[in-house]
Symmetry: C2
């Protein structure tokens, strides 16, 4: 009887292993043919491998091969400064493991493909093979890792909450409805209720998962499905504890990227932001500062317009050298029913947004923990507490002062990489026109 033992090592070398070999050593590798230059008696085959590309030199006879083929190659390592990584493989044996059926529809081998975003997204299964494209989502992996590692170290427990729900935390019109065995159900706009419910269980929790917003806006900043990185923490002394934790998380993310994702950042020409200290500014004060400095009238006293977010970012970058800024104390009118009001002035909440390079990437704050206070605020907002009987069990049976936030993965990634359109930082974006691929 055959048994599995967990043996996972193959005979092939990784790119890093090949690049570390001395000239003259023999290596066997596998990869997909990224580009091919046929000069007649010599063929230069650039192999796409997980850690980068390896230049393979084919001379003499050998099997036919073309871009997109999966091959295994063995040969002798030679040092050559012109090759990526400073080494190449002089191939002595080549096996085609799988063949592409057609030539590439777009030049994925080029550094920049110069496609419209629409073409890029429609051919996503192909265009992601471009080295710059795949670097974007490798960096995104690093962002997720940094978020998770920071919180694990701080004692947070990872949870998985349902996406099919009977009720939504954020309310409003941007709900996706679905049929659920003859009933009406919705897709979750956020894990808000669930992460709050878990605070009296684990004190600190986080979740990284999809959220769904039926936004009618077709802007560069909106996706109808995105990955939200959420955390919620109990026993806070102030909503500043939540901002401190986010600062810590961002510091860890940048550290992880710097340490483990340098090749991708270099390929993309990205300079990481400094995040040693993040300034804070009150919402009303930020509005006033921007209005004064940039001679811009305040039109909506209760919310920030996208242009104001950009100007606040610009002002804090120009005057304080920070690409991040926490805007605090948003008006109660514009925050959800679970937001804790400022006891010093209940027209404002103990809440914040984090702006990064002109874009809101986080919304967070302290939540109401007291049952009566929550019931009253619901009533003041025109909501019937009876509709929230399940949710209110959290408060009724006791929770602690707590707060948390949601950090939009695609928004953060797109700003990190200097992309204006958030779709560039989403593997397979969903917008009003697009549910494929």
């Amino acid at each position: 009887m055959k048994t599995m033992t967990g043996r996972t090592q193959g005979a092939d070398s990784s790119l890093r292993e090949v690049l570390a070999m001395a000239a003259g050593e023999t290596a066997q590798v596998h990869g997909i043919v990224h580009t091919l230059r046929d000069l007649g008696d010599v063929r230069f085959m650039l192999l796409r491998m997980p850690q980068g590309t390896l230049q393979c030199v084919l001379t003499g006879e050998g099997p036919a091969v073309r871009e997109g083929d999966a091959v295994r190659a063995s040969g002798e390592v030679a040092k050559d400064e012109r090759a990526p990584g400073g080494a190449e493989l002089h191939v002595t044996a080549l096996t085609v493991l799988a063949s592409a059926a057609e030539p590439m529809p777009v030049p994925i081998g080029k550094n920049r493909m110069n496609l419209t975003l629409d073409t890029d997204l429609s051919l996503r299964f192909v265009t992601l093979r471009n080295l710059r494209r795949r670097a974007v989502f490798k960096v995104q992996e690093g962002v997720v890792r940094g978020f998770r590692e920071a919180l694990q170290r701080e004692g947070f427990t990872e949870i998985h909450s349902p996406k099919i729900v009977a009720q939504n935390a954020e309310g409003g019109a941007n709900l996706f409805r679905m049929e659920y065995f003859g009933r009406r159900a919705y897709l979750a706009q956020s894990p808000q209720f669930y992460k709050q419910a878990m605070v009296p269980v684990y004190e600190r929790v986080f979740e990284i998962g999809p959220v769904f917003r039926a936004e009618k806006h077709n802007t560069q900043r909106h996706l109808n499905e995105y990955t939200s990185m959420d955390f919620e923490m109990g026993f806070i002394d102030s909503f500043e504890d939540v901002m401190q934790m986010e600062t810590k998380v961002l510091q860890t993310i940048m550290q992880v990227l710097k340490t483990d994702y340098a090749p991708q950042l270099s390929l993309l020409g990205v300079t990481l932001p400094e995040v040693g200290e993040i300034p804070t500014v009150r919402f009303d004060e930020a509005k006033r500062m921007v209005s004064e400095k940039y001679h811009r009238p305040i039109r909506d006293p209760f919310d920030l317009e996208p242009e104001e977010e950009q100007l606040i970012s610009r002002l804090f970058e120009e005057e304080y050298g920070s690409e991040f800024v926490f805007v605090t104390h948003y008006p109660s009118k514009k925050r959800p029913f679970y937001a804790a009001d400022d006891p010093e002035d209940p027209r404002y909440t103990l809440s914040f947004d984090l702006l990064f390079r002109g874009l809101e990437v986080t919304t967070g704050g302290q939540r109401i923990h007291d049952y009566q206070t929550q019931v009253e605020k619901m009533r003041k907002k025109g909501l019937d507490p009876a509709d929230f009987e399940g949710y209110l069990m959290i408060h009724k049976y006791g929770t602690c002062p707590h707060g948390g936030l949601g950090l939009g993965l695609e928004r953060l990634t797109s700003r990190l990489l200097g992309e204006n359109n958030v779709r560039e930082a989403c593997l397979f974006p969903r917008d009003q026109q697009r549910i494929e691929p």
Copy 2:
């Protein structure tokens, strides 16, 4: 101007820190009152903290406090063998930070609450505060960590694929439909297409996320939304490479649980399975063995009945001492269109299920990588390749021999913990009757 610096340490001690202190040292802690025994001149307050419970002894006057209240307490550490962890806190100062509005509706302080599953699930926001309940989902966190850490070490890249899709990989009747800006869309049954698409990009990918199945079955084994742990790996020599990788993953999971989750496993009385070697058996051979040993006629030659899965598990446990068994070479008729057929006998596929303690927890196998082969298999299955134009780009423009699997988080957790109903291992389960809380 106030700035955030990432300072995240409070003044309070964790439970581990308190238990490590010498008798007579002073400590300040916070937690939620888990149980309270009032003996008149002395009150025993068991504090629920993330790492366990701390017995606090209150004497003399002090604020009124009840179960569910969030408190901060300081006092002197005393050693007492009768207290959990061998130490207790003689409280000299107590502050109530938040108050419960009503007494607990169920005895969450008891080891076993003796609730029906239905009551437990309806009161989930409260019942999860029970120490056994929260231990279940802490162990589940460890399972996820083990899965992720094993694959990260093996060079897999983490991805996030969309859950709103135009098309589904598994087909069949168990699709959830939704309205998407006037179009028909579906919830993803699996990340199958997307993880296959990412193989020519990163070679090895994984995803941990929700999947949705509109199963009509209301059994102990089915959920309508569950967390799937998926991976897909390129350049495999055989589908055995996928089973080897899963064995490695399971070994890592058990190691992580053993190292970091011992208190929870001990509380739940769980013995971890041995997973040094996992036997394999062909589908037809397994059917025959079970039929012979347990005198059970073979009714469905193309699929395993739940009872057969249980008997196969029993047989391999009895005869080979393994609680895991890979059943390989499922009939082509019952596997999806992307399953690679066995070249030696195309009535069977290069696929497998993993059975664990009587339940299928994984389905996996090698996928078709050749464009023409995939087009032909679709036709043979009565599918129109034109409907899969997007998906077929993967094959048309070149991929490598690859395979992968999906591991059901709740099923694996429930079997690990010896729970018969998979709902016990899902934070907020979704079934035909239940979309709340």
